[in-house]
């Protein structure tokens, strides 16, 4: 379990990092953020990049900014930093709750927000959060900067809209008051999610759902939105029965792949249960915050 040989650079400026990706394109370069996913893959030799561009000394990628409209998190913000950030808690409590499920504290001390999103593991927590919150990803490349909505960002397992010479620099999360919940089943604490559910919704004074955004991880090649459930909830005052049928609308079309942690049927059972729990918890919180 030792990686194949590779070259390595640790630039301090974003422009230099991009130049390195361009210059070493033939070596199938990879960007190294916190290294908590890429390095194990390299040790298993499942990834054999010829060149690593380490972002940890690059200026300007590690800030957390909270404005009236959004929370902007630099791609190199460590997961534990975001987890402890008052701005993050105020701007995106769903993100902070999800971070508590990302591996273990020592891993979160190195792992980054941007690294996890750009890695796009279909079982990971943060991509589901980005999708549920309609986050926008900022990518910098040789042609300048562009913004990619979460709905277009995740393309497949470990596959994103980022080009080979692009670097994810920040994640912009719109501030949306209401109730949130992040619930998941992992075989053991800190393990990858078998099924994870991110819920972000709002209710009015009458208890009517005015907005619902729900994403799942672990049940498809990318995180997916529970659109049918969202639509069934919005405009209603949910009760146990209507939540059950709203959940059923999504569950009916799920066909997750079975693996050693669960058959497809069991994953569907889990999705059903965790969707319900997530929605109930988010509704409780939304109501209590009104």
């Amino acid at each position: 379990m030792k990686p194949a040989a590779f070259d390595y650079a640790a630039p301090t400026r974003l422009a230099d990092a991009i130049d390195l990706l361009v210059a070493h394109a033939d070596a199938e370069p990879r960007v190294l953020a916190g290294g908590q996913s890429l390095v194990p893959l390299m040790n298993f030799r499942l990834a054999q990049p010829g060149f690593l561009v380490d972002l940890q000394h690059v200026d300007g990628l590690s800030d957390i900014r909270l404005t009236d409209d959004e929370l902007v998190i630099g791609a190199m913000v460590r997961q534990s930093t975001a987890e402890e950030s008052a701005d993050a808690a105020a701007g995106a409590p769903l993100l902070v709750e999800a971070l508590g499920h990302v591996a273990h504290p020592p891993i979160r001390n190195s792992g980054t927000i941007g690294g996890s999103i750009a890695h796009a593991d279909p079982s990971a927590e943060l991509p589901a959060v980005a999708l549920a919150l309609d986050a926008t990803m900022t990518a910098a490349g040789p042609g300048g900067e562009r913004r990619i909505p979460a709905a277009e960002f995740f393309r497949g397992p470990f596959e994103t809209a980022l080009g080979p010479d692009e670097i994810l620099t920040e994640v912009r999360l719109p501030r949306r008051p209401g109730g949130h919940a992040f619930v998941e089943h992992a075989r053991t604490h800190g393990g990858f999610a078998v099924v994870a559910v991110a819920v972000d919704l709002a209710v009015d004074d009458a208890g009517t759902v005015t907005r619902a955004a729900i994403a799942l991880s672990g049940v498809g090649p990318t995180p997916i939105r529970a659109t049918a459930t969202e639509q069934a909830l919005v405009g209603t005052v949910p009760d146990a029965e209507s939540i059950r049928s709203a959940v059923a609308a999504t569950v009916a079309v799920l066909s997750p792949a079975g693996d050693v942690h669960g058959s497809s049927e069991t994953k569907v059972d889990m999705a059903r249960s965790y969707l319900r729990r997530g929605i109930e918890l988010a509704l409780d919180r939304a109501a209590s915050r009104r």
Binding site: M1, K2, P3, A4, A5, F44, R45, H185, R187, T188, H189, G190, G191, F192, V194, D259, V260, H261, G262, S263, E265, T266, D269, M270, R272, S273, Y274
Partner: protein, 813 residues
């Protein structure tokens, strides 16, 4: 039943007042290991040392058509590439206690065909492990895939592909043993309970994997090998044979094992690979498995059994007989034979007065990594099977789980069970009473009832089971009519040295540090003898070269055996010291008594000599003594198994082979989330009786840790081989191990029923937690699901299995 002569050893009297034995002193090992000064295989760097890496088979079953190593040999930093065929020239087969070893030859690398995913086909030796792994990718192997043998039941079919052609079958062993009047007992039974059960394979997961650093001395042709094998003296001659050298040319130096749980019992393959490469390259070589090597290729997967069981009972719940038919999937080789079933037969009837036993075992070879040793060595599987049967019987008879157990407890000791093994002592009611109180059984039954009314599923597991200790090796050969052998003595040795200042050093043989507390335990036993502070006793480990007879840890034998050796060596030292003191005090030796760290004239406390006063005289002033007194104060004791007897010739009585019988009761309380199949613990009480306690705190650590592993076995861990023979769990991503967040803090209690036949009345307790927890947790989950009509008889109880069972019972969503 054929009766054999059943002599029992003389009953010992145990010291009533003990100073150190029984005290929860701090572990003497801790300062070294907690500060990262343990010194493991990966820490050992020898000048000029090279690194080996093994190319693993990607196929479960394939013929090796050709191997081209030329590109690998030309790679940077590569010193040697050895294929299986070349290794077969350089080494002989590895030691194998299985039936008919010549028909399923086990070698350090595969030769003609590979028999499981992960089996080694070649080894690269390079300047570092990185370069070695680079070169592995340059070895070109042409395989001709063969149909894999995966399902052990299908493997028994006449037309199944063969794992080992010379064997002519995939069944390496098939025999039925009858102990007592099984047919009659079933005929007379009021009730016969039957069931099928399935225990899947898992394995010990040490922090450091298995490895060796070998040095070859071309002048003598000998080797010095540093390895984290638990036991080495006892198998020295076997690995020496594999290396084609006389055993007196091999010195094995023990290294601390970063955990073993049985999985480092005998380090054979990594040792032979490292030594073979060292001899070939003329340089020291380290071969240390990486995690994937260890999971796929460690030769120490655990039991993997199918059971068909019948139990005969009277209407009032008295168990009269049990008829067990088990198929055990051993994987591609069978290094320890079916010794795992000897462990089962040592305590096959549990704590119950069952009168007759039929036991059929079929050992099946398949395309998987082979079984080795894992905490419990197969007895934990028997405990689980038996307790499942007892619970099922209770359910069918409408009895409470507590009541049926009390109805059947053995209460008079020593008790010979039908297989011939003996239970030395016990008080099962006391253990049960204490557990029910500690675990608040009645309280949880009330909570359970309330919860059920709310649609929540809480379950209470209660099991009472045995914890055998101190094996005799007869269990490895009584399977066969031939060869017969005398009883094996399985010795363990200690040297005690009192230096000129009176400080004591204890030397251990064939006993590596494996994560337990051997030094603490020896220090306490020495302190008990000499009235010193155990933290002042120095404990060192001897390599095999200057070793005394020893067997090594295994089968929860270490504490009892080392206690006997310490006792014997101490007696010799005291005898010499008594004579010296008598001389110095001008007293009759018979008038002296040992008191508070020295000898004094009985009734005249001012006439005394402390051990250090005696020691300095014996070390430096020998001429003060009689002519036949030699300088120094150092003695050794080789302590042999205190009680083992021959099996009968017809094998209807297997004799005494595991006589020091501990006992435990576990009482976990769980909640099952029926929507997701997730099990969480609400409470867990565990009470153990392993005779006289040496260190209650370290035993509690054993129980906590063993139970954590048992939780892994019960709920999480499984080596999964797909129908194509691929190992799907080659990292901790797919093989989940419970962490501190999954494992509840146990309520631990102890009962002490001393053994009549061991020093201080000690019994072994190293494996107890894992021998109980799987049975207890399965019972708890089944108790939780009982109102839903669901009972699960397959471990581990993953959310997937629980949900599948619930769906099958109509609880879809």
């Amino acid at each position: 039943m054929t009766t054999v002569d059943r002599p029992t050893p003389p009953v010992r009297t145990h010291k009533a007042e003990r100073t150190w034995v029984g005290k929860s002193i701090r572990r003497v090992e801790d300062p070294r290991f907690l500060r990262g000064r343990g010194g493991y295989i990966a820490d050992l760097v020898l000048p000029g040392m090279l690194h080996a890496a093994v190319l693993r088979s990607p196929h479960p079953h394939a013929r090796i058509v050709s191997i081209d190593t030329s590109r690998a040999e030309a790679a940077p930093g590569v010193h040697a590439v050895v294929t299986g065929a070349q290794a077969a020239e350089l080494t002989d087969p590895l030691p194998d206690f299985g039936p008919n070893p010549a028909a399923h030859t086990w070698r350090c690398l595969a030769v003609d065909k590979v028999r499981y995913v992960g089996e080694g086909v070649a080894v690269v030796v390079a300047d570092d492990r990185y370069l070695a792994e680079d070169a592995l990718e340059l070895i070109d192997v042409e395989y001709e895939p063969l149909p894999p043998v995966v399902d052990p039941l299908a493997a028994l079919a006449d037309d199944a592909p063969l794992v080992h052609e010379p064997l002519g079958s995939n069944c390496a062993y098939d025999r039925t043993f009858e102990f007592g009047d099984v047919a009659g007992d079933f005929e007379r039974a009021d009730v016969v309970v039957t069931d099928q059960l399935r225990w899947h394979r898992s394995g010990g997961q040490p922090l450091e994997t298995v490895g060796a650093v070998a040095e070859h001395d071309p002048a003598t042709g000998g080797f010095r090998v540093h390895t984290n094998s638990l036991s080495f003296t006892s198998y020295l001659f076997m690995v020496a044979t594999a290396l084609k050298i006389p055993a007196n040319r091999l010195d094995i130096v023990p290294m601390p094992a970063g955990g073993s749980f049985g999985s480092k019992l005998f380090v054979t393959k990594p040792l032979v690979i490292a030594a073979m490469c060292a001899r070939l390259t003329g340089r020291p070589v380290r071969y240390l498995e990486d995690r994937v090597d260890n999971m796929a290729n460690c030769d120490h997967h655990g039991s993997d059994r199918h059971y068909d069981v019948r139990m005969a009972l009277t209407r009032d719940g008295k168990i009269t007989a049990i008829d067990i038919d088990t198929v055990d999937d051993y994987g591609a080789y069978i290094q320890f034979g079916v010794g795992h079933h000897g462990n089962a037969l040592a305590q096959v009837v549990g704590p119950y007065t069952i009168g007759s036993v039929r036991y059929r075992v079929r050992a099946v070879l398949t395309n998987k990594n082979q079984q080795g040793a894992y905490r419990g060595f197969g007895s934990e599987v028997n405990n689980w099977m038996l307790e499942q049967m007892v619970d099922k019987a209770a359910r069918e008879l409408g009895m409470d789980p507590v009541e049926i157990r009390r109805r059947n407890f053995i209460r008079s000791f020593p008790h010979f069970i039908p297989t011939g093994n003996v239970y030395d002592s016990g008080d099962y009611d006391a253990v049960l009473d204490k557990t029910l109180e500690l675990g608040r059984y009645e309280h949880w039954r009330e909570v359970q009832e309330q919860a059920r009314a709310e649609g929540r599923y809480i379950g209470i597991g209660l099991i009472t089971a045995q914890e055998r200790s101190v094996f005799s090796a007869t269990e490895f050969w009584f399977w066969f009519d031939e060869p017969g052998a005398p009883v094996t003595s399985m010795p363990e040795s200690v040297t005690l040295k009192v230096d000129a200042t009176g400080a004591i050093t204890a030397t251990l043989y064939s006993c590596a540090f494996w994560g337990n507390s051997p030094e603490t335990m020896v220090a306490q036993l020495v302190a008990e003898e000499f009235d010193c502070d155990p933290h002042d006793v120095s404990v060192v480990y001897q390599s095999s070269k200057n070793g005394l007879p020893a067997t090594g840890p295994g089968g929860s034998r270490t504490t009892v055996m080392l206690a006997g050796a310490v006792e014997g060596a101490s007696a010799k030292i005291k005898e010499k010291a008594r004579r010296a003191a008598a001389h110095l005090l001008e007293a009759d030796p018979d008038d002296l008594e040992w008191r508070d760290g020295g000898f004094e004239v009985r009734g005249v406390p001012e006439k005394r000599k402390t051990l250090s006063e005696i020691a300095i005289m014996l070390h430096l002033f020998k001429h003060s003594f009689d002519e036949d007194v030699e300088s120094g104060l150092e003695e050794s004791k080789v302590f042999d198994h205190p009680y083992t007897t021959m099996p009968s010739a017809d094998r209807k009585d297997l004799g005494v082979f595991y006589p020091f019988m501990g006992h435990a009761c576990h009482l976990p309380v769980v909640e099952v989330d029926v929507e997701t199949g997730v099990v969480t613990f609400l409470d867990y009480a565990a009470v153990h009786d392993c005779g006289t306690l040496v260190n209650p705190r370290s035993l509690a650590g054993h129980i906590q840790g063993g139970t954590a592993q048992g939780i892994g076995t019960a709920l999480y861990e499984e080596f999964v081989y797909g129908p194509d023979g691929q190992l799907q769990t080659t990292s901790y991503l797919d093989y989940p191990i419970p962490t501190s967040l999954e494992v509840p803090e146990l309520k631990i209690g102890h009962v002490e029923t001393p053994s009549p036949w061991t020093p201080h009345g000690i019994k072994g307790g190293g494996e107890g937690g894992r021998m109980m927890a799987p049975a207890a947790i399965n019972a708890a989950v089944n108790d939780a699901l009982a109102p839903l009509g669901v009972r699960i008889t397959e471990l581990p109880l993953t959310p997937d299995r629980i949900r599948a069972a619930l769906r099958a019972a109509g609880h879809g969503s």
